[in-house]
Symmetry: C2
Subunit: 432 residues, 2 copies
C-alpha cells in the first residue's frame, strides 16, 4: 500500500452549515493535517445554487454546480453531505458510497429513514459513513453510544434535541408570553425558520430520536414508529401552573425499553424542576441516557448552528482521514434490524397534567373525579384557579398518579361530554 500524501474532501451543500464546514476545513487546515498526518484538502464544493459560489466565501476555483463533477472525481476520498432531506442528498450519498467514497453527513432525515440501507451500502464498498452531526450538533452523542456506553443495557433516553422549540418554551415560561408571539420573535431572530412546522410539530426531534433509539436499543426504529405531538397547543397558563406545581415544560424526546418492548415518543412533558433537564434553557440541547451500569449520564451543549455542527462533521472527517492515512478499514457497524417490539401509544403508562375549563359551580370536581375513578385513574393533586366571573367559568388543573394512556384518553372523552365541562384546555404527560 502506497503512503498517502494527502486526503481530498468533496463538500456537498454550501448553505449556512456547508459554508461553516468549509471555513473550518480551510481555516484549521494546519491543525487538521497535524492530527491526520497529511494534508486534508477541500478539493471540490458543490451547490446547485450558483450564487453560493460567492456567498459561501470558498475559493471560486473549487466551486461547481454539478454534483456529479464531485461524485465522479476519483481523487475525492470523503464526501461531506450537508444538503439535507431525503431526495437528492440521499441519492448523492448512495452514489458516493457506491463509488468507494466515505461519507460524513449531518442529515438526520436521511439517516433516520434510510440508515440501515446506507450502512449496508457502505459495508459493501468497504467505506465508512459517519453522522455525529445528525443529532445534538456539537455535543458528542453518536460516538458515545457506539463506544463508551457499549457495556450498558440502555433503558431510557430523555432528550431536549430541538433548539428552536426549547428556545420558544423557555421564553414562554420566563416571560409568560403566548406561543404565537414568541414564535414570531424567534423567526425574526433567526432561531425559527419561516416555515417552522418541522421544528414546532416535533418532526425534527422525531428524526433525531429515531437515530438515538436505534443506536441505544440496537433495533431499527424509524420516524413513523414514533408518537409525535408538537408545542403549538401549549398556553402560557400551562407554564404558570406547571411552575406552581414544581415543574418545567419541555418538548421531550423519550425512548424507553422494558422487557424487549420499546416505546418512542416526542411530545411536551412536565419535568420536575429540580432535575437537570428542566434547567436546560434556550437553544441548548441535552440528552440524558440511562444505562444499567452508568445510571443517568447527561450530554449538554449547543445542538445547532454552523460552528457546533462543523465541530461534529470535521471530527468525523479527521477520524476517517486518520484511518485512510493508516490504511485501516472503517470499523464495521452493526446493521440494525427490527428485533424488538414497539409499545403502542395507548399502552403508555405515565402521569398526566390536565387543564380544564369548567362551569363555576359546586360539585363539578366530584363529577370529573368520578369519571377518572371509573377509568381507574387517581388524582394526585388538583388546583382550581381563576374563576372568570363574567363567563361563570373556572379553570381546574389536575395531576394524576400513574395511569394508562388509553384510559386517560377514554376519560378525557367522557369528561369533555360532561355538561359542566366547557373545554379541555390541555393534556400533557409528566416525565418524573
Amino acid at each position: 500500500m502506497s503512503e498517502r500524501k494527502k486526503i481530498n474532501i468533496g463538500l456537498m451543500g454550501l448553505g449556512v452549515i456547508g459554508s461553516g464546514v468549509a471555513r473550518v476545513l480551510i481555516g484549521k487546515a494546519d491543525a487538521i493535517a497535524q492530527q491526520v498526518g497529511c494534508p486534508v484538502i477541500l478539493k471540490r464544493a458543490v451547490d446547485c445554487d450558483i450564487s453560493k459560489k460567492k456567498s459561501s466565501q470558498i475559493p471560486a476555483r473549487i466551486f461547481t454546480a454539478d454534483p456529479y463533477q464531485l461524485l465522479h472525481d476519483p481523487e475525492i476520498d470523503i464526501v461531506i453531505e450537508v444538503i439535507g432531506g431525503d431526495t437528492d442528498a440521499l441519492e448523492y450519498m448512495k452514489e458516493a458510497l457506491s463509488r468507494g467514497k466515505h461519507v460524513v453527513t449531518a442529515n438526520k432525515e436521511a439517516i433516520s429513514k434510510h440508515g440501515p440501507e446506507l450502512l449496508s451500502l457502505a459495508a459493501d464498498h468497504k467505506v465508512g459513513i459517519r453522522h455525529e452531526a445528525s443529532v445534538g450538533g456539537g455535543i458528542p452523542i453518536i460516538s458515545p453510544f457506539k463506544q463508551d456506553l457499549l457495556a450498558n443495557k440502555v433503558s431510557a433516553i430523555r432528550a431536549i434535541i430541538n433548539g428552536t422549540t426549547n428556545y420558544i418554551v423557555t421564553r414562554m415560561a420566563t416571560e409568560n408570553a403566548d406561543f404565537a408571539t414568541v414564535l414570531k420573535q424567534a423567526q425574526e431572530l433567526g432561531y425559527a425558520e419561516a416555515n417552522p412546522a418541522n421544528d414546532i410539530e416535533g418532526v425534527d426531534a422525531v428524526y433525531k430520536l429515531a437515530i438515538l433509539a436505534t443506536l441505544a436499543f440496537r433495533t431499527a426504529i424509524y420516524p413513523e414508529d414514533i408518537y409525535r405531538e408538537g408545542i403549538s397547543r401549549l398556553g402560557s397558563r400551562d407554564f404558570r401552573y406547571a411552575k406552581e406545581l414544581g415543574y418545567a415544560i419541555k418538548l421531550l424526546a423519550i425512548a424507553k425499553e422494558e422487557n424487549h418492548y420499546v416505546q418512542v415518543r416526542v411530545h411536551p412533558a412536565l419535568i420536575p424542576e429540580d432535575q437537570l433537564l428542566a434547567k436546560v434553557d434556550g437553544v441548548f440541547n441535552a440528552i440524558e441516557v440511562e444505562g444499567d451500569l452508568t445510571g443517568k449520564v447527561i450530554f449538554y451543549g449547543r445542538g445547532a448552528g454552523p460552528q457546533p455542527t462543523s465541530s461534529a462533521i470535521v471530527a468525523d472527517v479527521i477520524q476517517i482521514a486518520q484511518n485512510i492515512k493508516l490504511g485501516l478499514p472503517p470499523k464495521p457497524q452493526p446493521q440494525p434490524s427490527r428485533i424488538k417490539n414497539l409499545t403502542t401509544t395507548s399502552q403508555i403508562v405515565t402521569r398526566y397534567y390536565m387543564r380544564l375549563t369548567i362551569a363555576d359551580r359546586p360539585n363539578v370536581l366530584a363529577q370529573i373525579a368520578k369519571v377518572l375513578g371509573d377509568n381507574l385513574i387517581s388524582i394526585a393533586s388538583a388546583i382550581q384557579k381563576e374563576a372568570d366571573e363574567s363567563a361563570q367559568t373556572a379553570e381546574i388543573v389536575l395531576m394524576t398518579h400513574l395511569a394508562q394512556e388509553s384510559a386517560v384518553q377514554q376519560a378525557i372523552r367522557e369528561i369533555e361530554a360532561l355538561p359542566v365541562v366547557k373545554e379541555i384546555g390541555n393534556l400533557i404527560r409528566v416525565e418524573d
Copy 2:
C-alpha cells in the same frame, strides 16, 4: 493471520471496583461476545490479599495471589489494572505492555504521573492502553477528547470531578452544616474514606485534571503543575453568604489556555447559581469543556462507584477486543510533550470573595477599601453581617472585580495586619 476464537482477560485488583468489573465481564459475557464477535473470557484474576478469592465472588479456579502468573501468561490479551496507585500497579502495567498485552486501567494517579511513558511503551510494543475510567467514572470524557472534540481548540475546562467533596459541599450548602460534621457522616455512609485527605485536599481532582488538561491542550501537564487547595477551610457561613450573593460553592478543577499559556488549578470556587455546574449536586460529577467550535459542552453523571467505573472499563475492553478480533492495530496516540507554558498562580486574574472578621466600629470598611484600592483591587459588592456584640466584632464579605492573584495576596497580608481586622475568615476565587 489466524481467526481469533476467543480473547482472554487478566484482571488485577479485586477490591470494590475489580469485583464489579468481574461481575460485569461474567454476567454480560453473552452481550460482550456478540459485540466483539467472539467470547471475551475472564481467564485470571489476581489480588495479593488472598481473602479476595472468596469476597470478590469470582470463580475460585481463576484466582491467583501471584501477579506474575497473570502477567506471564502468554494467552492473556488484555490486562485490566484496578489496583490503583503508582507503585506496584505501575510496574504491572509496564510489564504487561512490555509483554505485548493491551492495558485497560482506571488508575488516575499512574496515568497522570506516567502517562507519556506508558503511552510510549504501548506504542513500542504495538499495543493499546486505555483509561476512560480514570476520570469521571461512567461519564464518557476521555474518548470525546480523543475523537469528537478533535476539531476544536479547547480554551477551558471547568469540572466537578470528585464525588466525595461534592457530596460534602452539597450537604454543607443545603443543611447549613459544618465541614467536620458532614465529613464524619460521609465517612459513615461510605462516601468518604477513613483517610479522606486524598479527596478533601483535592489530590484526586488534581490527578484527573492533569489527565484532562493533557488531552485538551495536547501538552503534557503533570500533577505537580497544578495549584491545589482543598475544601477543609470552607465554613457553613461561606455557603450562606455565597447563596445570598447568588452563588454556589464547589470544588472546581479548572484548566484554561490563553496565548499558549496554560493555567491549571483545583480549589473551591463560587459559581453563579444559574449556571448548570452550580446545580451539580451530591456525588455527581460534571465536566464542562469550552471549544472554539462547540462552545460549552457539559458531560454529567456518576463519577465513581463499581458500576459506572465498570461501564468505562468494559467499554475500553470491548473496543480493544474488537480490534484484536479484526486484526487491527491500536490507533496511534499522540505522545504529549511540554509544548506550552504554564501560568503561575500569582498571575491568575479572577474575581475574589473575601470574608473578614473586623472590629465593629466606624470606618473599618474604609481602611480595608483603601488597602484594596492601593493594590488596584476594586470592590464589586460588600455586605456587613452579624455583629457579635459581646466580642464587639462584625463580619464583612467582599466581592472584588477582576484582580490579579499576586495583588490579592499582597492586599490580604496588609489587611490582616490592620489592627481593626480580627481574622481573615476565607478567601475564595470566583468562576463566572
